[in-house]
Amino acid sequence: MGIKNKNLKIKVGKLELNSPIIMSSGTFGYGIELKNFINYKKIGAIITKTITLYHWKGNPQPRIWETSYGVINSIGLQNPGVEQFIKEILPIIKEIDTKIIISISGTNIKEILQLTEIITKEKIDGIELNISCPNFKKGKTVVSQDPIITYKIVKEVKKIVGKIPLLVKLSPNVNDITEIALSAEKGGADILSMINTVTAIGMDLQEKKIIEGGLSGPAIKPIGLRCVYKTYKKVSIPIIGIGGITSGKDALEYILAGANAIGVGSGIFSNPLLVDEIYMFLEDYIKKNNLKSIKDIVGLMNEKTKEKNRTRE
């Protein structure tokens, strides 16, 4: 059964999506684990687990620590490396009837460029450059924390990917995320994905261990929402809003703040039906407000939009 309602279709940059609901990187396995739960026609795209040039074993245990309204993870980008990914995993994901975006990262620029060369030869719908990985450094600086390095790397990668849409995933663990966002845009990013996890620690008193990693879940939603809100004012490329979305209302807030699409992350862990819920909520919202399309409300609660509307008057 097809989706009758076309109101949720949205164009994000050059990507024509069935809906603004995107499965974020790292929280949707290889894309096929939830095939019994997910109506793939209701999602706009799947962003794969981050792939690196070589096989990464990932971090030792403990990898997970639950907090109030969230979870800290330290998975360490476990993945089989690009070669095996292309051979064994990509063919299975490609059978899914949705847009496939490949998340990539590495430890240095040379590796990233080599990886980009390999992956762009495949038939894919987009590439997401994950610059927020703490191991992705130039010298001693983590890429996502330096606007100049971000600009240079995005520019180099964009040269290789050419017409394939390039997404850049931004880290909130910076003084001013809009500065990094502008650098990525200047470097040639087509779309911004934000935010990645927020650095945090958990304390296991029983085992007397510290778990250092990235916090996700409802606890970080206000942080992500602010980042999208502030960035939307400054950039002219589309944004995928990610961070703590666990309901249709959360998704709506991100869209109203300026996101063209939203990413579902760890919210799906406890609620495998989250995609359906968000879809129904947004569909309902559009009907109730007599809107033609979801894109009519992108940034509606953002001062930038309000200002534009004022000028028009």
């Binding site: 245990q61 979870v71 993870n73 862990f269 406890s270 495998p272 039906l273």
Partner: protein, 255 residues
């Protein structure tokens, strides 16, 4: 894998901190011994995984011990309440018709998936021996054992019931006395599983164990629950929730 609202039909406090809970079986999937359920707990972000200890057409039974916040909240639920449950998840204990003699070994609440396995073997009329150990008599829930014609061997650390000592040492003794079974399936604390790993190698008995770990998603999405599994002469992290929770014991690298 399904997501269902189920009713708590019965909840019994076995002893302090240990509970037996029966929920309505609203699942249409076949459920196999070794698989688990992921239960939504009020006020917590992540679900909690529980081995399936009993299944019939009307209900599913789980056995749990209060260890942290999740199990504490679950222990405070009452009959009649509704739970949001994902399952059945994970793989199951292996079963081959050529195996005619099983040894099942349960330590503490690790007995849970084996209770279900016992029932299956009874129904299939297959010969097996259940080894079941706990710290002390009151923690040995013999009343939960399915009725049927099979051998049982019990032990307690303090000798208050059955043999005195660790159930794994009793297993060693029985192997010396009676020779090898075709296969061993077990669940219990890490220390017990590690010792079983040595015995399995020493006596060359194929053995499968149910592994427990903290999980975030339980569905193979996050790679949070991994353990080290041998692959040729290397190893890689495998998901307990997806490639497990049942692993061949000689593939596991214990940490």
């Amino acid at each position: 894998m399904e997501i269902r609202k189920v009713k708590i039909q019965r909840k019994i406090k076995l002893v302090e901190n240990h509970y037996w809970m029966e929920i309505s079986n609203n699942f249409s999937s076949n459920i196999f011994p070794g698989q688990f359920l992921n239960i939504k707990i009020d006020d917590l972000f992540l679900r909690r995984p529980f081995s399936i200890a009993e299944v019939d057409k009307k209900h599913i039974g789980i056995l749990f011990k209060v260890k942290g916040e999740g199990t504490k909240i679950l222990s405070e639920t009452k009959s009649g309440e509704i739970l949001d449950v994902v399952g059945p998840l994970g793989n199951c204990f292996p079963f081959q018709t050529k195996w005619q003699n099983f040894y099942l070994i349960g330590g503490g609440t690790g007995i849970a998936p084996l209770l279900f396995f016992c029932k299956m073997l009874i129904e299939k009329n297959i010969k097996f021996t259940l080894f079941y150990g706990a710290r002390t008599k009151k923690l040995l829930f013999t009343n939960l054992l399915p009725k049927g014609n099979y051998y049982t061997i019990f032990s307690t650390d303090d000798g208050s019931y059955g043999y005195k000592g660790d159930i794994i040492n009793i297993l060693r003794m029985k192997l010396e006395e009676r020779g090898n079974p075709d296969i061993i399936c077990a669940g219990g604390p890490i220390s017990m599983l590690k010792e079983l790993s040595r015995i399995s190698t020493e006596y060359k008995i194929p053995s499968y164990v149910s592994v427990e770990n903290k999980m975030a998603c339980g569905m193979g999405l996050c790679f949070g629950c991994v353990i080290k599994i041998k692959n040729k002469n290397k190893w890689e992290y495998k998901r307990v929730c997806k490639e497990g929770p049942i692993f061949q014991i000689d593939k596991i690298i214990w940490e």
